[in-house]
């Protein structure tokens, strides 16, 4: 099979301005992936599906990844002018100070597709798509029109991660009920407070159970909690 770089070159040749990026996988598997641009994603996918040499006719897996907002602390050397008294004389001296600066790298949601070719017996080719952010711009184009096997899995990702697949024929929740509002697989999902009975709690669950007890005790009065 072609390497990811060769596939990228083939895509660029077939779809001008596709803007496909190679994401390196430093692990021993070396499964590098291709990051698609949303405006060309369907075109690129169609090329991968129809190309005689690649013939990626089988979509085996679609999954979601949540990348939350990341706060990055950096140490920066800053040069400042400081007024100091040196030997009783006021002087302006340049001083280099190390400062910690924090910046927030915005998070995004990601969809990962694993493609194989049954005809050519090769694969996987890993595709990724990213949303612009995690709150309101969460659309990515659906690949269900090309691979029907994406239909349920994209519905699952819509359900659990809240990624909206434009062009999906039937985008409804699949595991949770229709009136459900949360996306349980997101990192910032908070499960409902039903920790009233946790006989063998530890770690996170123990903390939640203690919080629940404190709340229940405050609400009902002394001795009402466990």
């Amino acid at each position: 099979m072609k390497t990811v770089e060769e596939i990228k070159a083939a895509i660029e040749a077939a779809v001008p301005g596709a803007g496909v990026e190679v994401m390196q996988n430093p692990g021993p598997s070396g499964q590098h992936s291709l990051l698609l641009k949303p405006e060309h994603a369907l075109e690129v996918a169609k090329f991968l599906h129809d190309d005689a040499e690649l013939a990626l006719d089988h979509l085996s897996n679609v999954t979601g990844v949540d990348w939350p907002d990341k706060e990055i602390a950096e140490k920066v050397k800053v040069t400042r002018q400081v007024t100091k008294s040196v030997d009783g004389v006021e002087q302006t001296v340049e001083e280099t100070v190390e400062e910690t600066r924090k910046r927030v790298e915005p998070g995004y949601l990601e969809v990962v597709y694993h493609l194989f070719s049954v005809a050519k017996k090769h694969g996987p080719v890993v595709l990724r798509q990213r949303t612009q952010n995690r709150s309101d711009k969460v659309e990515v184009p659906s690949l269900t029109p090309l691979w029907r096997s994406a239909e349920f899995q994209e519905r699952e990702i819509f359900d659990l991660f809240g990624i909206v697949f434009t062009g999906h024929p039937d985008l409804r929740r699949i595991l949770m009920w229709d009136g459900f509002k949360d996306h349980p697989m997101r990192k910032d999902y908070v499960e409902p407070d039903d920790f009233e009975y946790e006989p063998t709690a530890h770690d996170e669950v123990l903390k939640r159970a203690q919080e629940h007890r404190a709340r229940a005790g405050a609400a009902v009065g002394e001795g009402a909690g466990q």
Binding site: L175, M176, W177, G179, F180, K181, D182, P184, Y189, E191, P192, D194, E196, Y197, E198, P199, V205, Q226
Partner: protein
Amino acid sequence: MAVDQQLKIEMGKQGVFVTTLQELYNWGRRNSVWPMNFGLACCAIEMIATTMARYDIARFGAEVFRPSPRQADMMIISGTVTKKMAPQVVRLYNQMAEPKYVIAMGACAISGGPFKQGYNVLKGIDRYIPVDVHIPGCPPRPEALLQAFITLQKKIDAEALTGQERPRFLDPDAPGEFPVPEPAEHDLEPTANQDVWHAPVVIR
């Protein structure tokens, strides 16, 4: 009311059979408990095995699995109850005719089991409906289900037809139907039926 056991044996030797209506009634009921044909997860496979030749729940009169709640006497909650499924389980239970019994089979059905902290798993079906016998295990072996069923038979046998201790189905004031939880925005509403379930007190 109750006949002395020794006297009963003596009379039996003389060809006289003595019993009480309660005994006769409960004897008939306990030996013909029809379970509902209803499986939820992997425990259902063990339940199926229990019905087959090797374990043969027919020995206890419970081989007639009915595919309708209207004809069933016993519900075996065999597996994980998801929050999406819980309203349907309660609804099926409500549709069963009294007297009705529930066996919560396996870790998931009694507490949520290995999925207890999951976002979509009910932490025990006893939060919504009264459970007669709980069986631990993941999944419980068919012998455990038989043991639970024998326990249930003993419970049926001990039921009094009159008096304060009479079971729910003989008490016109007792509830026959249990509120079906509604799927809401974040969780089921209510999260537990307070008439049926209270958080057990953990002594630490």
